[in-house]
Symmetry: D2
Subunit: 306 residues, 4 copies
């Protein structure tokens, strides 16, 4: 009777009354690091997965969707990105996508949790695909906000690849107007940034819409994009902000040309058509962004799951 | 300790090793009809829900996404749809959206399960919103395929709103080339159809891509669209097939003008921008459609969950 | 695929990391009363169930075990019980078992939650089996402790049939030395009491052992008994305290004779042999009782699930 | 929010609509052996556990209950057991308990699954506690029934420590009259056997009662015993069969004396009082045994979970 049934499960709770169930094949590593609970497991439906504080971060089967939509639109906003800064990005897949851009000379990744990065490097080799060992990559284990406050470096693109703002975690201070102003100061004149901005589920749009409006205080061009990452269980939003290029002005052909000349290796998710799709949001999300007045600030942060 | 925790759950399994968990507030009706197991329940995250054979069909919080993307693109393919045929559509929300189109004179809904329709009418009034009592609506409880075989009626739009093809159920014969040819014969010269075509999750694209290719055997214009319906737990695909109008040729402005003049009441999901989004699919889905060679036929059907 | 699988579940959590899963057939009533969350549901494995604050209270399939072991040993401690007091006992099954004793002239049940009692009366008729309408039964909806403080009544047997002591609930003040002293004062010279005392799981014996030792401060004869009530998911303990009769002195034959002459209707769980079994505990439980020094007092209460 | 919640679970299904949920801390080994699915995991509530074919076999927190009640009553039926045969017993804890008996000169364990035994030896050292390396222990990886058919050895005690009879597994032929006759032939004149016989849940007593009646065809003294092993989620039955000694004739003092003189090391579950408890069953179980007429035979086997 039990043979066809999975008996080991990872339950990814979105709230006390909703979640996504993943059958576990085995667990490679389960550890309480200095900063968070980390699990690397093999699931029946999505293969290997990184789970932080009981939330799915990325899976073998669909991490390409997350990492391509996070990285490539932002990279293409800049005509010739050489210096890239990745905030967070533990698994190394964000750096992997950055390094596909032939113009890149240096990619600095600053993640707070060395243990997570080291265990991902060991157990999730397809995620980094050697990116940690690329001579263009620099890796620091620091609080990214403090690093930005203290550095004089200038970057062409900054990718913010961090988990959701929760009350106990340090991430929430990486979602505020003050932080985005700091980011803006460290960007070159044609620079752009991108980040994941939470779910696009109706009635749960506070995070996405407030991030969008907060970024509009700091950047002239702000676009939010929706992507379906099935292992997340809920549809997801990403926000792109740029100093000069308006991403909605680029045609499918423009994007396809740039990808073809500037990016090495075939992409699986992103191209001109995907860009067009991403530049349009469903009506109810656009309406929610329009109506949102909340600006996220250090002393008025937003916490997911509250 | 338990107070903050939901103790009653609906587990919507996508496979023996994956599912979506919905906290139940209460169950309004739980019944084994002649055709299927039916549950109407109130969930904490999505409000009231219709569940057939243990699978979420639609929820109070996001049924608008499902029903708007299913109905409106197809309706707008025809310049002046008067006669509409809804295959299935138990909850009545598909008819509700059809009746928003001012040109409609008659909408016939044929559902096999009278008990489900009657219980939805009682427990889910916002779904039908009076559509069953509209004088333009006709309702028959029959096998839709047999009805189509025997009728001489001609329709301008046919909306196929049925559950997934499973081995035990009758729905699988409503996904074959032979059925689509029958549908095509009953469509007027500028007619169009739409249907839900299963998940767009990578590696689970067989249903969507085979439906798409099968429809291409019968219709000149076929477009698949992706929509995020969070209560489904996985991203979902819809396919639109049209005899004359190519939906990809319509601009956002064209759509907005048609919606404004032809549709009564405000839509929440669909408009010109949403149409543009829907006309583009992620690269991996387009590639999977291109590479799919399978044509679904009566004697070579496809079953989900096999 | 899903047909053989239950999709609606009641999860009875024993802790954040353990619980018992019950497939739900349907829910008859789900209500937040003035005092607690109440659910009356039909489960696949145990039939109808009463669930209070997300914890199983009793099930159609095995409530006979709970109610017989709670009531009959205490009743037989007294040679001729006429007046019986039931503290709590919402479903009415405790009164049902009390009324089987032919000597009983009056059984007063004091439960704090009128809504629970009324809904049990409606949905769980086999539990009370008419006991609420028996002319010997009196029913009051009050705080039982306050009632005991204020009354001058004397009872031959007092059955304490309440839920576990939790921090938010009022029940915890019905588990203290002060309360047991109050109970003792209202008992006649040959009186006895019984109560459920929590799980007998190794390493979770605090409640049972402290209740046992607290009762020993007040009563000369105290015996704890273990019973397996499968719907509870964990083995359970009951404690019996008596003013005169030592229950361990009664042989199987003694019990069988008393049951035969004093109790009407056949019992399913309790008889002389079951009594012998109940008078013996596994070695590790006896050892834990011996070693327990904690006395539960009003200003030093015990809370389960802390 | 998620911190207090377990997100990794082992669900031990008793049927498609009931089970016990165990929060997983980590998984040490997950493997499909030649015979079964094996998982060794660390759970929050019961510590390390062996799980075979998705069913809990034994846990760190309460394996002492299972192994003591399985081994010691049978050992004490024989006045001086020297040769002991353990059928199954993968974890090594059954042999560990056998070896506590000072009279034992040789203990042969025959388990079909070498991989399980080797992984238990590595990951569950407290279970075997060195028993595999004791010079009195012999270990063979064979089908136990075939071994018994072919051997001429005579044993004083035979402990049958195998999983439940399921249709796919080989265990069901170790629950039949023919097998018990074979066992009986290999027992010395004062020999005894013991085995686990399934749950004692009301309405699920077929296995226990039929095993009991089948053993009565072969042995003069047969006693079934109930034990609460919380990690099993349901109460459990064990059956003891003896050629000469009637276990119900032994007083608590007899048992305590024998344990004291013959067994080394302190026991945690079993002693004279526990023996008395074990010699008595609840009334409904005795009645079900009395009424059972089914004899299990090779060509009329019983399967759990059918």
């Amino acid at each position: 009777m039990q043979d066809s049934k999975n008996s080991k499960w990872f339950l990814d709770y979105f709230s006390p009354s909703e979640g996504h169930m993943h059958g576990i094949r085995t667990i490679f590593s389960s550890k309480k690091t200095k900063f968070q609970q980390m699990d690397i497991m093999d699931t029946a439906s999505y293969g290997r997965c990184l789970v932080l504080d009981h939330k799915m971060q990325s899976s073998e089967a669909d991490e390409f969707i997350y990492h391509e939509i996070l990285v490539h639109p932002a990279m293409l906003m800049h005509p010739n990105p050489k210096n890239v800064f990745v905030v967070g990005g533990g698994e190394g897949a964000t750096v992997r996508e950055v390094l596909r851009h032939k113009s890149v000379e240096r990619c600095l990744m600053v993640d707070i949790d060395e243990e997570v990065v080291m265990l991902c490097k060991e157990h999730l080799p397809e995620w980094h695909a050697g990116a940690f060992d690329d001579k263009r990559t620099a890796l620091k284990f620091l609080d990214a906000r403090r690093y930005l406050e203290e550095t004089d470096d200038i970057y062409d693109v900054i990718i913010i690849d961090i988990s959701e703002p929760v009350e106990e975690g340090p991430a929430y201070l990486l979602y505020t107007r003050e932080f985005y102003e700091m980011v803006n100061k460290r960007l070159s004149a044609e620079g752009a940034i991108a980040l994941q901005a939470g779910t696009t589920t109706p009635d749960r749009l506070l995070n996405l819409t407030a991030v969008h409006k907060t970024l509009m205080q700091v950047f002239p061009h702000v676009v939010s994009m929706q992507a379906a990452i099935p292992s997340f269980g809920l549809p997801w939003g990403f926000t792109l902000a740029s100093k000069q290029t308006d991403p909605r002005k680029l045609s499918a052909e423009d994007i396809d040309k740039m990808v073809s000349s500037r990016v090495s290796g075939p992409l699986k998710y992103y191209d001109g058509d995907t860009h067009q799709m991403s530049m349009h949001l469903p009506k109810f999300i656009r309406k929610a962004i329009d109506e949102q007045k909340r600006i996220i600030e250090d002393n008025a942060p937003i916490f997911t799951y509250n």
